[in-house]
Symmetry: C2
Subunit: 232 residues, 2 copies
Amino acid sequence: MGVFYGIGVGSGDPELLTLKACKTLRLLDVLITPVTAEEKESLAYNIVRDLLNHNVEVLFRRFPMSEDPAIWQESAAAVAEEIRILIGNGKNVGFVTLGDPMFYSTYVYLLQELKRRGIDAQTIPGISSVTAACSKTGVSLAEKNERIAIVPAVYAHTDIQPILDAFDTVVFMKVKGDCSSLIERLERAGMKETAVFVSRLGLDNEQIVYDLDEIRGCNVNYLSLIIARKKR
Amino acid sequence: MGVFYGIGVGSGDPELLTLKACKTLRLLDVLITPVTAEEKESLAYNIVRDLLNHNVEVLFRRFPMSEDPAIWQESAAAVAEEIRILIGNGKNVGFVTLGDPMFYSTYVYLLQELKRRGIDAQTIPGISSVTAACSKTGVSLAEKNERIAIVPAVYAHTDIQPILDAFDTVVFMKVKGDCSSLIERLERAGMKETAVFVSRLGLDNEQIVYDLDEIRGCNVNYLSLIIARKKR
C-alpha cells in the first residue's frame, strides 16, 4: 500500500513551504493538483514543480468553482477513487493545496471522500494567506486576550455589526469585486484606518493597500482579504 | 547596518519550519530567544538550535509571564535597545517565536519598540498551533462560507453564547487548568461531540483528546487549545 499526503504549499512564496512539505514532495510517485475550469494553470503546482522528483507523474484534476457543494463532492469523489486505486498499487500520492489544507480549502471534500473509502490521509499544514499577510504588513492578528473573527466577505452584506463589536480583529476572506460597501461598514465601525487590504500575496500582481479608499469601486481579485482591527 | 528578522518557528515539530525561516537562521550573527522566568529552556530555541551557524551568538532574554502589558513592554524595550546597537554594528539579528509571530505572541511588543526606534523588521510567518492541530486531527477550520472565531479560553467564563451561535468553528486558545466549565458550555451548545482538545502539539507530552469528558477536572498544560465545530 502507498500513502496519501495532503500538502499545504503556503500562500504563494515558494520559500513559505515547510521542510515537511518539501520532504514529502520528494516521496511522491504521483502528484495530483487541482485546477479550476476557469484557470488553465495550477497555482499550487507552480509553487512545487521545481521540488518534485523527475519521474513523478502529475495529474491535473478539475475542481470547478461553484457555490454548489454537490459539484465539489462529485469532483472529490472521482479523485478519491483514483487515489484509492493508486495507493492500492503501492504508489505514494500527494495532493497540493494553496495556503493551508484545513483553511477554506477544497481538500476537505477530498478528505471526507477518502475517509468514506477507509483511506487514511497525512495532512501537512501550510502558511495561510492570513498568517502571511500579517507578517508582511506588520499587523498582529491578536495579542494577549484579544478575540479574532474570520468571515467570508459576503457577510459584509448582512448584519455584521455584532461581530465588529465583539472582536478585536476581523478578517474578511474572499474579498472580490467592488468592496465599497464593506469599506463603508468598516468606516462606520471606526476600523477603516487600521485596516489593510492584501491581494495575491507572494504571487504575481501582489497588492498591499493601507488606505482602503484606494480600492473603492475597484474590481479586486478573488485571492484577496482585508484585516481590520480595533484601535489599541 | 545589519538586518533584524522575526522568525516564526512553527508549533513544535522542527519539520514545520519554513524554507524561509531556515534560510534566514543561517544569515544570523546573533539569535535572541525568549525565556520566561518560570521555564529555564526556550522551546523556540530547541527547535532551531541544530540549524544555526556554529559562530552565532545566542542571547536568552527574559519575557516574564504576566497579565500586565507594562511588564512585557519593559522587556521588549530592553531587547529592542539591544537590537538597535547590534544592527548598528552591522550584525544580522534574529528573534525566534513559537508558532506564528503575529498570533498571540510577545513578538508584537518587540515590533512596536523597534518601530519606535525607526528599525524595520522582516517577519517570517510560522505554522501556528491552530493550523497544525487541524492538519493533525483532520478537523477543518472552515469550508465554503463558514465563519471562524478564535478566543482565549478565559472568555468561556463570560457570555460566549452569542459567539457559539454565530460561528461555525470556535477555537479556544490558552486553555489551561480545569476546563470543566468550558466543556459544559460546549455540551449545552451541542458542540462537544465534534470538539477536539490538543496540547503541546509536536512537543514532548503531546496530547490529543477527542472525548472531552476525558479531560474534565484535569489540570491541563497551558500550551493547549480546543477546536469546537457545529455539526455539518
